[in-house]
């Protein structure tokens, strides 16, 4: 069974806040949910499927269904870190295709800034029962130094440079200047990126994404529902998901699970990278984007540095416009989980509702990709391909 054409994205919402001092976590989820339902022209009473991940409070889906008063016949709380919501889009389409629900709601929210969380720079400890913790936590693994090791290896094997990585941030900043909600709207140069302080070799401060509060939501519906709504039709064409791990110690930091999720999504959609007009790529760090673009087939392995250089990712300038909202590097990274906002900006592009300065002409096929966990050693990868109808 394929999901191609079996489900549409009818509503999206990105919470405008970037620092939620006056809202609770459940409230941010619910505000995002109501925003996406209003965008679709639906109400919460239309929802019969609900999807959330580890950022949802309490008992997750149960607590949020209780808070929002949802009457559900399908629930899915798949947790793959920041890629969860991209996985959820695929799962929602599967559930709709199987007749398990008609209107699927996906929510994300978090308050890391309001809570003063050291998101990327404090060692993460997932608890003594996590089988890896004893063999990793004593060594001080943080989000940033683990991604940095992937960058270091990529530079060693392929000659990738800091200046090439910097181009990714430069492109994001070129886009963010047009987004009034973006946390960082200042355009930066390659020199400014490579001269910003080193956080973990070889990643600089400006290679790292922002820390923001907020959230977002997506509404996925069956075709009959989508066609009676008033919004432009965004059809799901293909989805792929994968988990990459350490393979018992046969560690390879040069690729991600996108080498599996990408081909699965392209095959289901019946398109190739050459057909994609716009990409939303999870950008926790610049290196995440570079490796992912290679893995998805937009460049040969090791050639990502050339692909991203010289403004190639800038809308209206380069051949592969990416993250036109400013992405996680400049705009928003709610709850330290960037997958949901990747889908949101891809939908804006397909609808022709991106900012006019960054709207891609004739944007009929777009891709969104999420990465969640520690890059190349324990993460979820998820790819969705969508088309305008």
């Amino acid at each position: 069974m394929s999901i191609k054409g079996k489900a549409y994205i009818a509503g999206v919402f990105e919470h405008p806040t970037r620092k939620a001092d006056t809202q609770s976590l459940a409230q941010l989820h619910a505000e995002s949910a109501m925003g996406a339902l209003a965008d679709a022209g639906l109400t919460k009473d239309d929802v019969d499927g609900y999807f959330c991940a580890g950022d949802a409070p309490g008992l997750g889906g149960l607590s949020m269904a209780d808070y929002m008063g949802l009457k559900l016949r399908h629930i899915d709380t798949t947790e793959t870190g920041g890629s969860s919501y991209v996985v959820h889009v695929g799962h929602a389409a599967e559930a709709i295709a199987a007749g398990k629900c008609d209107v699927a709601l996906i929510t994300l929210a978090g308050r890391p800034r309001a809570e003063g969380m050291a998101t990327g720079t404090a060692p993460r400890n997932y608890g003594a029962a996590a089988p890896d913790v004893a063999f990793e936590y004593p060594y001080g693994p943080t989000v940033v130094n683990q991604y940095a090791m992937a960058a270091m290896r990529h530079m060693h094997e392929f000659g990738t440079t800091s200046a090439q990585l910097a181009w990714i941030k430069v492109a994001a900043s070129q886009h963010a200047q047009h987004n009034p909600h973006a946390l960082l709207r200042e355009v930066v140069t390659v020199d400014e990126v490579v001269n910003s302080p080193i956080i973990a070799d070889p990643l600089h401060r400006l290679d790292c994404c922002v820390i923001t509060d907020g959230g977002g939501a997506i509404v996925v519906v069956r075709p009959e529902v989508a066609k009676r709504l008033k919004r432009p039709l965004v059809k799901l064409l293909g989805a792929g998901e994968a988990v990459k791990h350490q393979r018992g110690g046969k560690i390879d930091l040069t690729h991600t699970g996108a080498v599996w999720s990408g081909p699965a999504a392209f095959a289901e959609a019946g398109v190739t990278p050459a057909d994609i007009k716009y990409v939303s790529i999870y950008d926790s760090f610049t290196i995440t984007v570079l490796i992912t673009l290679e893995d998805l087939g937009f460049a040969a392995k090791g050639q990502g540095g050339k692909l991203v250089s010289d403004g190639n990712l800038i809308a209206g300038v380069g051949r592969l416009p990416f993250n036109t909202d400013g992405g996680g590097l400049c705009n928003n990274h709610p709850a330290n989980r960037g997958g949901l906002t990747k889908v949101v900006e891809a939908v804006r592009q397909l609808r022709g509702e991106a900012h006019p300065k960054v709207q891609v002409k004739n944007c009929d096929v777009a891709l969104a990709h999420g990465t969640g966990g520690s890059l190349a050693t324990r993460h979820g990868s998820a790819t969705v391909i969508m088309g305008r109808e």
Binding site: D132, P138, G248, G249
Partner: protein, 128 residues
């Protein structure tokens, strides 16, 4: 210079032999007697073939740096690394007792055990 405090590894029945050996200055690697593969971190069940016939073997303590990163922003900068053991598996570790500005991928290293705050010592590596 002050040393970074190292949190102790939580020990459980599955991994206790590893930590007992670490306390005695020996690095152990799990080997599967069904498929012959060695793995790390150590598991009772082989991650390659699913067999429960895994056994502890003594490692030479020699390896090479697969990748590393010096965490400059930490109050006391330190080098996290993946070291590929002579026996095959690659493990997360720290590179210690060395010039953090002179590290390189491919460098030969040897194991040293460093005390932790509240647990057994952990294997780290230093230039060979």
């Amino acid at each position: 210079m002050a040393e970074r405090t190292i949190p102790g590894p939580p020990v459980n029945p599955e991994t206790k032999p590893f930590w007992d050996a670490a306390a005695a200055g020996t690095l152990l690697v799990k080997k599967c007697s069904a498929c012959g593969e060695r793995h790390h971190y150590p598991r009772a069940i082989c991650p390659f073939c699913g067999s429960a016939a895994t056994e502890w073997t003594e490692a030479s303590g020699r390896g090479t740096v697969y990748s590393y990163s010096v965490f400059r922003r930490a109050p006391i900068p330190y080098a996290i690394a993946y070291v590929t053991l002579a026996e095959g598996p690659t493990m997360m570790t720290n590179l210690v007792d060395c010039n953090l500005d002179a590290l390189r991928i491919g460098q030969a290293v040897r194991v040293v055990f460093k005390p932790t705050e509240d647990g057994p010592p952990v294997p780290m590596f230093t230039p060979a």
